[in-house]
């Protein structure tokens, strides 16, 4: 009897915590939406989405989200271009090529990589990577989108490596045996059989990596220079959505237009990460089938 009660109780606890997550996400969305709508009452949605100027403390203020949005897209795109080949390559090596002892060492190193706080990376970016890129590419400043992209690529690597590696390991043994049976070499098997079969899982890894990169704040705030220009090149300073919220939130007075505008920026960010995670989930589900 007491056992049944405790089981009942625990079952409900688990159900509640599951439900709580859904409720929280929903509440966050509502909260963002409510405060963003307060902005759009005074500042038209069209001008917010298509405005090319972000001048929050000018008279009158201009809240054009476009430079920030494109800034985020620039940084994310380059980070992904850099880290996907590296990450998938590393996953292939760990899953298929590396001998057992090396495999264990590499896996734990990847985990350590994941545990480096972003503010530490940002600091390295300011004092080392930025000046290095400035001197290498003869730029006027090392605080550029690329500096951010490189550091973000570094941060997304662990996510991409471990999920891709799971996907590669999950490919059924018989595929491998069939390929070898047909006389395929190890490389042919890996490249033409295993990688395509794991592609859904790898896509999910990439999408989750993108999610990580889009939402990362500290690094981009510290190293990208935060100039609210319409980005033209990854080798110039730019400003992202997240850095804008982090850099300006402290200053705004609750209930002001600027405050609501930052919530609207948050809503844009939420929409992006939600879509990305949703797509990643679709891929993951397909991978499981």
């Amino acid at each position: 009897m007491p056992r049944r009660i405790s089981e009942y109780f625990i079952e409900w606890c688990i159900k509640l915590s599951g439900l709580a997550v859904v409720v929280f996400v929903f509440l966050i969305f509502l909260f963002l939406l409510r405060d963003s709508l307060s902005l759009f009452r005074e500042y038209p949605l069209g001008r917010f989405l298509s405005g090319r100027e972000w001048l929050p403390i000018s008279e009158p203020p201009r809240f054009g989200v476009l430079p920030l949005l494109i800034g985020s897209i620039f940084v994310t795109f380059w980070a992904i271009v850099i880290c996907v080949p590296l990450g998938v390559g590393a996953a292939m090596f760990i899953a298929e090529v590396a001998p057992k002892p090396l495999k264990h060492v590499l896996k734990s190193l990847v985990e350590i990589l994941a545990s480096i706080p972003s503010v530490v990376l940002g600091f390295l970016g300011i004092i080392w990577l930025g000046p290095f890129l400035r001197d290498t590419f003869h730029l006027s400043t090392g605080m550029t989108g690329l500096t951010g992209s490189l550091l973000l690529a570094f941060m997304a690597l662990p996510t991409i490596i471990s999920i891709s590696e799971d996907a590669l390991v999950g490919v059924p043994r018989m595929y491998r045996e069939a390929a070898y049976g047909l006389g395929a070499t190890r490389w042919q098997t890996l490249w033409r059989v295993i990688l395509p079969s794991a592609s859904s899982g790898i896509m999910a890894a990439v999408m989750l990596g993108i999610g990580r990169v889009v939402g990362e704040t500290m690094v981009v705030l510290m190293v990208t220079g935060n100039a609210p220009v319409m980005p033209r090149s990854i080798l110039l300073p730019l400003r992202t959505l997240t850095a804008t919220i982090a850099g300006e939130m402290g200053e705004t007075v609750g209930g002001s237009e600027h405050y609501f505008a930052l919530f609207a920026v948050g809503l844009v960010l939420f929409a992006i990460t939600f879509t990305i995670n949703f797509v990643a989930d679709l891929f993951l589900r397909r991978a499981r089938k």
Partner: protein, 321 residues
């Protein structure tokens, strides 16, 4: 980074202090907790004042946090700090919102400061007029060559919009003190999150130019000498931030270049000087009053002088001269 450690240290100290609370304390002795938040420009000075204060009154703990003047003022309005520090005056709109929320800001001038313009030590340019600065920061001049320097692009550095120094610089340099001006910082301007970040970038980048409170000057960067522009005799400094005496004297000094030193701020010959403020909610009482009086008193003012600012008394003397 420094800010973070400072906050952390404050909490450690607070924890250490609280654990020491078991002993009996003379009930007549002031005890409690005060929080000050705001301007990064004077955060170092406030920290010194707080330390002296805590030595004087060992049972009061003062936590000092930076973040920018806007942060301090927002916190005062949101009632999350006892004392807000600011390197600019509260805006009418902010006061209005504060009153609406039942907060009645009371203003005190705690010190005067020069806003220094810094460049890399290897940059040959060492004197600029306000007009030059205006052209640089609005993007009308983009190469050091145009100012007699090397052929290198100018990288303009600014603080984030939460900084009082950003507001001051925007009004006095970008808009040249003209009310209603719609001039903005050039969009290429990098917005950095702290004065320290500006020092780092200027120290390592030969093309960079930035601005910060005099208290942040060091050997790692070079402060340029600044002259009031030679446009009208009244100067265009109509924002009210520079005390009247400074404006009247502006004419005589119009073609002289002055470095940002305590002396030049006291004499009002350095064109970019401004008062620094603290705000409290209503007439300060109890511990807060004790702290404000201490800050404005001789010991507090000495801390401001030692961290590179101009004590309040010095300029009133100059003003009456």
């Amino acid at each position: 980074m420094r800010l973070k450690t400072r906050v952390l240290l404050s909490w450690l100290l607070a924890a250490a202090f609280l654990t020491g609370c078991g002993e009996t304390v003379d009930p007549n002795e002031p005890q409690g907790f005060i929080q000050t938040k705001g301007s990064d420009t004077i955060v170092n000075a406030m920290q010194e004042v707080a330390e002296e204060f805590m030595q004087e009154y060992p049972h009061v703990f003062v936590a000092v946090t930076g973040g920018g003047s806007g942060v301090g003022i927002a916190s005062l309005i949101n009632k999350t700090t006892d004392v807000a520090t600011a390197s600019r005056e509260m805006k009418a709109k902010e006061i209005e919102i504060a009153e609406k929320r039942g907060v009645h800001p009371k203003e005190f001038v705690v010190a005067y400061d020069g806003v220094a313009v810094i460049v890399n030590r290897n940059n040959p340019v060492d004197r600029l007029t306000l007009e030059d600065l205006h052209n640089i920061f609005t993007g009308k001049i983009t190469n050091w060559k145009q100012l007699g320097g090397k052929d290198a692009p100018i990288v303009t550095l600014s603080r984030e919009v939460s900084s009082g120094t950003h507001m001051y610089f925007k009004e006095e340099v970008v808009q040249l003190g003209q009310k209603g001006s719609t001039e903005e910082f050039s969009k290429e301007t990098l917005l950095l999150t702290s004065s320290q970040a500006i020092v780092e970038e200027v120290a390592s980048n030969e093309g960079a130019i930035g601005y910060l409170g005099m208290g942040y000057l060091s050997d790692r960067t070079k402060a340029v000498r600044v002259a009031r522009h030679s446009l009208g005799p009244q100067g265009r400094s109509a924002s009210g931030l520079v005390p009247r005496a400074a404006r009247d004297e502006g004419q005589a000094a119009s073609d002289d270049f002055f470095p940002p030193t305590v002396e030049n701020v006291v004499k009002k010959t350095y064109p970019l000087s401004r008062p620094l403020y603290v705000y409290t909610d209503g007439e300060p009482q109890g511990l807060v009053k004790l702290f404000i009086d201490f800050t404005l008193g001789p010991v507090g003012q000495r801390q401001f002088m030692e961290t590179g600012f101009v004590p309040v008394g010095a300029t009133t003397v100059a003003q009456t001269n």
